[in-house]
Amino acid sequence: MVGVSERAQAAAESEAEPATETDAESATTDASETAADETTDARTPVTTGAQSVVRSLENAGVEHCFGVQGGAIMPVYDAVFDSELNHYMMAHEQAAAHAADAYGIVAGRPGVCLATSGPGATNLVTGIADANMDSDPMVALTGQVPTEFVGNDAFQETDTTGVTAPITKDNTFAASSDRVGDDVGEAFALAATGRPGPTLVDLPKDVTQGDTDREPGPATPPDTYHVQERAPADAVQDAARTIEDSNEPVLLFGGGVIKGDATEAAREFAKEYEIPVVTTMPALGSFPEDHELSLEMGGMHGTGYANMALTHTDCLIAVGCRFDDRLTGGIETFAPDAEVVHIDIDPAEISKNVEADHPLVGDAGTVLTQLDAAMDEQPSATKWRATCKQWQSEYPMDYAAPRDEPLKPQFVVEAYDAATSDDAIVTTGVGQHQMWAAQYWTYTEPRTWVSSHGLGTMGYGLPAAIGARIAADAEGKEDAAVIAFEGDGSFLMTMQELAVAVRENLDVTVAVLNNEYIGMVRQWQDAFFDGRHSASDYGWCPDFAKLAEAFGAKGIAVEEYDEVADAVQESVEYDGPAVVDFRVDPAENVYPMVPSGGDNGQFALAEDQL
């Protein structure tokens, strides 16, 4: 991962040499350069724990953060008031966590969220768990009641480190005003180093209010934390021989390819050795889906050809993926003939779900470079590539869209894809709309797909779009559109964040694929529960277009095919938040589908095959 420690070191060094800038920093915006100059030159000395917390964030190069105020976090916010940090006041803490998470995905460095103690912290929990499942870099700072009240069931007290221990990479209860800045620096470094993940620092009010003149040191991980960057040479050699000797190889790219900034190395490897590529859902964009080697996404709602290739491969080269059950289906029938080469920076992912014949622990880009150096020739896979091509023609993703039937949601996804550039960013909620957004948008660039994969958090799309928009702007991608695909159910969970998007005039488009159902549940009820629509049928939804107008956003409602193009154009061009309520076919289902625990090769193309 991007060396946060390096960044922090640069910040520390620049105290002596204010002009010093690392490559990483020079890539950021003008605003950050100004901030860096000011913080390095005439920085007011730290006097409180809270100022030390904020100084630590500045040292780590943080420019933007998301949060909600409250009693126990007030000292920290008071220090933010004087800092160069841009703080986005969210409507709900869950959204602050999702926005920080999305910021981390798009910017490639930890997003930061703040909340108060008690309900503030517990509201963050969903977003932290989401970041943890998807290994997204994020730092959460929570207020806590003063140390002397801890354990007394004080007002707004929650055992935050206890609650979040299982869903963070690491968390810390700050014990002293002198140390608290270093605690935050450590949390920042841990979130970004090795396999990324969310970290949390719980900040008792007496610690943040307490006096200290100690400047926090550079952000470095604790000395008990180690990362292995390179795989052992002999293991790499063995893996290279296996790949060369295979006849039916498949590269499986996971989210680690993008998070490890290994996209270039991964693409080159695939192209040089002409190995077909399947991606997991978090890896959408790691390999261009319009390339002839791309088989697109595999797994439960992956393409038929990706799942055929996964099922029949004799050599599966998995990079930065954790073999989630939504990808593997039943483990007994997953790539059952394949020797598995597994590259991952987290040793615990090796042979956790699928036994790795060739475990290669290390950084994705580094190990792929090692593997490339160890390879002498391409595998003989001409016939296999032809077979994959044949599967592509046998299992096309062309859905039926007769104009005498209600609007198909897939059509809306394709229309937005056509109306935006390749660097447009897609965020989603969770459900059918998320799958259509994954299937029918052609992803070609990394960090353009922002979704809730592992945790499956409905309501993720809009707050994520806010974080993604801010990150894109910070990365100099002001012209990239940000499109949030949401379902009606998903949108209802976090739509209050429209208030933030309007207040900050963020250029995001929310495309609601509205079928008045919790659609994925309805689809499963039809397939597995005799069509009994228990608690999945809204029957009535608010008028989302009018609701958007009430927030001050642009609102458009669409029912007909011939209204789609104009609405798409108008919403994309609108400079500010726009919501388009697409009334789509409530009966449309997501296919292909591998039922939970099923055989990937036996994916269903229609309900009667389930």
Binding site: S351, D398, Y399, P402, E405, E516, G601
Partner: protein
């Protein structure tokens, strides 16, 4: 029918939709739509017209080729004709941790949330005041034991993790309170197990026994003839024999290396990173061995 659908789908690729006409007269009132579909229980849940094409086209599951192989539930490729699962075994794992608040709960919650079968867990201070040692006895098949070790290594306060050899020194302690109807008999039996009498009253005798698990179970079984009132047992404390270190090699100074390695990756300079991971880093070094062995 399918030709028409294909055409439609191709048109859907973002081209103009002016030519697309919905059939007049079909209701587009969404409330009515969903009402039709779900509130009338006598009708099929999705009242779709017969001509509507469901899903996607392509060979059905039965028409597809089937792979030869199979994996077992642990994700290991197996011969489908032969047996499958690996049997669980008992392993003693010694964990050196930073002596700080919350470590024990982090370790114990790891075992419960990942459903590792844990037989006992003990924790105590070491000769270094900043470190504590946790000894865990787990019962898992081999892939599970590997997972236990790897997941433990991921916890930030964990310094080293090692499975001890079968010949390691292992001791448990039990305090057993029995009826004192025949105190001399109790003393005689206790003596057979090198147990000491630590408390006595008119009605009870309490003995303390230390040793291997088997010995303690033997003692409990034999003392059972006098009527056991209460038993308190510790878990296993264990230590490697001779010069073999229980914690494995003590960790070298590696913080700088982590940074160097991170920086090297960032700048795409694998040569530097090679130096960084050549030595030290016991957490990962042991993992390497374990994973290579598995292969």
């Amino acid at each position: 029918m399918s030709d028409e659908s294909t055409d439609d789908a191709q048109r859907a690729a973002g081209e103009s939709t002016d030519d697309a006409q919905r059939a007049a007269g079909e209701s587009t009132d969404s409330t009515q739509r969903t009402g039709d579909e779900s509130h009338d229980e006598t009708v099929a849940p999705r009242a779709r017209a017969d001509h509507r094409r469901e899903g996607l086209e392509g060979p059905t599951p039965g028409e597809r080729p089937v792979p030869r192989g199979k994996r077992n539930s642990q994700g290991i490729r197996i011969d489908p004709e032969v047996e499958a699962e690996r049997e669980p075994r008992r392993a003693v794992i010694s964990v050196l941790v930073a002596h700080e608040p919350g470590v024990l709960s982090e370790v114990s919650s790891l075992f419960s949330r990942r459903q590792f079968n844990i037989e006992s867990l003990t924790v105590g201070a070491t000769n270094d005041p900043e470190r504590a040692r946790i000894t865990v006895v787990v019962e898992e098949p081999d892939p599970g034991i590997d997972q236990v070790e790897k997941q433990l290594r991921k916890l930030v306060p964990v310094i080293s993790v090692r499975e001890l050899d079968p010949d390691a020194v292992r001791r448990e302690l039990a305090i057993i309170k029995v009826d004192a109807a025949d105190p001399s008999e109790v003393a005689a039996v206790a003596d057979m197990y090198d147990a000491r009498t630590v408390d006595a009253s008119r009605e009870t005798v309490t003995v303390e026994v230390t040793g291997s698990r088997q010995k303690i179970e033997g003692a409990i079984d034999t003392l059972g003839q006098f009527g056991v009132r209460e038993i308190t047992r510790t878990g296993t404390a264990a230590q490697a024999r001779g010069t073999d270190s229980t914690a494995g090699t003590p960790p070298a100074e590696t913080t700088g290396q982590t940074e160097a390695a991170a920086a090297a990756t960032d700048g795409g300079e694998p040569a530097d990173a090679a130096g960084a991971s050549d030595d030290g880093e016991p957490k990962d070094a042991t993992v390497d061995d374990a994973t290579t062995e598995q292969a």
